[in-house]
Amino acid sequence: MAGLSSHMKRSRAGGFLRLSMSKQARDDLKGYLFVSPWIISLLVFTAYPMIASFYFAMTDYTILNPPRWVGLGNFEVMFTKDPLYWKSVANTAFYALLEVPLSLAVGLVLAMLLNQRIKGIGFYRTAYYLPGLMPAVASTLLWMVLLDPRLGLVNAALRGVGLPRLGWLRSAAWSKPALILMSLWGGSGGVMLIFLAALKEVPESLLEAAMIDGANAWQRFWRVTLPMITPTIFFNLIMGIIGSFQVFASAFIAGAAGGGSEAGPLNSLLVYMLHLYRNAFRYFNMGYASAMALAMFVVLIILSMALIRSSKYWVYYEVAGRR
């Protein structure tokens, strides 16, 4: 909008103040008008709720009554009095620490396998991507059947190879791995697609040159392909971390099936977002839930910034002058 004012001239005509705009200013205005629906939507549906949430985080707010200012009271409860808060943090950290690297690895392996010119490759790419299109509720219910300890196919397969049956969602130790398994099945397709696009951008000439120099397949992958796709790894890593911190639907549905508490055996499926949801909509503690949301926001900002800073050491951008 700054450019606009520098091109504006005031003139008087017939006693009325009249604004005449230069062509540049008019073009700028048109541009802003075209993006105005998006900007308004961003302000109304994203920025305003965020700012409101920051305010509610400092209040005792039940939704049903006006908010009452408590300052940092919610944070005090969160960090010192709520035993389930740290449980939810631990569960989410466990989930994220395993799910994100596995998701990247599986996505990359799938992308490499699907980056071939063979007949029917389109079918395989579609087949591996399709699970990602399944709604979370449906896929969780499907996996609950597959992971049934007594009748599920997964335990049947384990028994078939002589391994013991696992409790999966009915076990405190195996419920989170079960959740990760569900996530890998549903989420790897999207990661795979992005990696596939990146792999296609790796110049053939570099790979050919490496081959001529005697590099084997592993060396070509490690020394040429991997560095070339580090920007994509970086992107998937940040998106994966943000997504894993926000896991909710599968934990919410699967938790009820585990017996015991509604968040799995020994609250093993009480992830951060589930604890937040319960506080907001089950315990009428929207103020506290907003405080939890703010805390997560801060942590994610810090993590993202740390990753961005670290990227200069391991992310290679082909654009000249950018490393």
């Binding site: 048109k30 049903l64 017996g259 968040a263 055996p265 909509f281």
Partner: protein, 466 residues
């Protein structure tokens, strides 16, 4: 030659068209965002108000085929009885327009444009205590059917907070024990209700008769008492204890009776089921009597559920219902109940008509529902002779009447339930505590002490904020 080189100029150029479209789109977004919320109607009273049809909205979470078939009939009957009142509703499993039911309902109450009536599956005491529901005591006093003494005490108390009533219990699905009569007969055991164990120890001994282990795996269970978490208050009162005292507004989780209750369960787990709760849960899907659960699969002979399961669970074999036995420190059998609650949010535009609808569902309207599903009514003046048709078809008229009478009589002895303003928080906390005890992570006395502290602190915080 013209400036545009002989090409005919259209009335509106493409650039101008796009400019106009952008302006129109922005204007539309601004208009949508700026639309004021529908104000709650507060029409001034008129001296000679002409009678006109009033439309009341009803929100619910029902979605099953039976609900979709039966509830429209209930509404139709209501509208025939009250021609001046029309009901706007849908049976889609959630609020109109979609979304999470409780989230949207809370948001609408907060925004001041709630539905006229709503059905809740968690107790009105929580909402009423926070001032989000309309108190209906005056309306009940003048009601045709839904007078205060027309309901069983326990279910009605679940709608009350500090002397005010904030909803009506349309149903009071009473809890009970189900037995597989064929399994009992195979073992030469009596299936008569009067012969069923009256104490926990006797029930445990009976359960042991059915437990079968083969090659280190549990093949068949007798009775597993901890599978239905909604019956926690019942188990506490069966042993002479209490979890929440509604009169004193105080949690009483820490008590010798409650400690004894949980110790009894741990002993049961150790003596009959190998002592490892997770391993036990691998062996079967214990809990309730519905398809795919161990009871229906023939893997368990004694189970718990509610009255609705008599028809809703479609149990494919002969069964009988029994009362809960009392614990070592208890003296009488009590049951639990799980109502469907009908409430009127605060600020509804048509409170009188909304109350008529709530009253209808809780009284006359429930007759239509009960003919389809055996969901024990909370209304004491329920007409005689009305039975669930499916049960009549399944078991015959006499037996259906007998089972109806069993549940109706049992409702006179209910445990105190659903009366806390922090019901969901307390329930989740207690579930976690019991889970820790069964996992042997904590002793009963430790787990109960922690639950007591958390629940009482939460209760104090909520009461302070009111």
């Amino acid at each position: 030659m013209s400036a545009n080189n002989g090409v005919a100029r259209s009335a509106v150029s493409r650039r101008e068209f796009l400019q106009l479209a952008g302006l129109a789109g922005s204007a539309a977004v601004l208009a949508a965002c700026g639309a004021p919320p529908t104000p709650a109607a507060t029409e001034p009273p008129t001296e000679a108000a002409a009678p006109e049809a009033v439309t009341v909205s009803w929100w619910n979470q029902f979605s099953t085929p039976t609900c979709q078939e039966v509830f429209p009939r209930v509404i139709e009957e209501f509208e025939q009885t009250y021609p001046a009142v029309k009901v706007e509703y849908e049976i889609s499993g959630g609020p109109p327009g979609g979304g999470d039911y409780i989230e949207v309902l809370l948001a609408r109450i907060a925004a001041g444009n709630p539905p006229d009536t709503a059905t809740l599956w968690s107790p009105p005491s929580q909402f009423g205590a926070r001032g989000s529901l309309t108190a209906i005591d005056d309306m009940m006093a003048n009601a045709k059917w839904a007078k205060p003494d027309a309901f069983y005490a326990g279910p009605l108390k679940s709608c009350q907070w500090q002397g005010k009533t904030f909803g009506l219990p349309a149903s009071a699905g009473a809890g009970c024990i189900f037995i597989n009569t064929a399994h009992f007969e195979e073992k030469g055991l009596s299936t008569k209700r009067e012969d069923f164990p009256k104490t926990w120890d006797a029930l445990k001994a009976l359960s042991e008769k059915f437990v079968v282990w083969e090659d280190g795996e549990l093949k068949h269970a007798g009775f597993i008492p901890w599978t239905q978490s909604w019956l926690k208050p019942v188990w506490s009162e069966l042993n002479g204890g209490k979890l929440f005292d509604a009169e004193k507004v105080q949690y009483q989780i820490v008590s010798d009776q409650n400690t004894e209750w949980l110790e009894h369960w741990v002993k049961w787990l150790d003596e009959q089921y190998g002592g490892d709760i997770e391993q036990l849960n691998i062996y079967g899907t214990w809990g309730d009597v519905y398809p795919e659960a161990a009871f229906q699969l023939g893997q368990c002979s004694i189970e718990m559920s509610g009255s609705w399961a008599c028809t809703d669970a479609a149990i494919p074999f002969e069964w009988e219902v029994m009362k809960f036995p009392s614990g070592p420190s208890g003296s009488k059998s009590v049951t639990g109940f799980w109502p469907n609650w009908w409430v009127m949010p605060k600020g509804v535009p048509h409170p009188n008509e909304a109350f008529l609808l709530c009253e209808w569902f809780a009284t006359q309207g429930w007759v239509t529902w009960y003919k389809a599903v055996m969901d024990t009514p909370a209304w004491k003046n329920f007409p005689e002779g009305v039975l669930t048709q499916k049960l009549v078809d399944q078991a015959g008229l006499e037996r259906a009447q007998e089972i109806h009478n069993f549940f109706a009589a049992y409702l006179e002895d209910t445990a105190g339930m659903w009366t806390s303003p922090i019901e969901d928080f307390a329930s989740d906390t207690l579930n976690s505590s019991i889970d820790e005890v069964l996992h042997k992570v904590k002793l009963p006395v430790e787990a109960l002490a922690e639950a007591q502290e958390l629940c009482q602190a939460k209760l104090d915080e909520v009461l302070q904020g009111m």
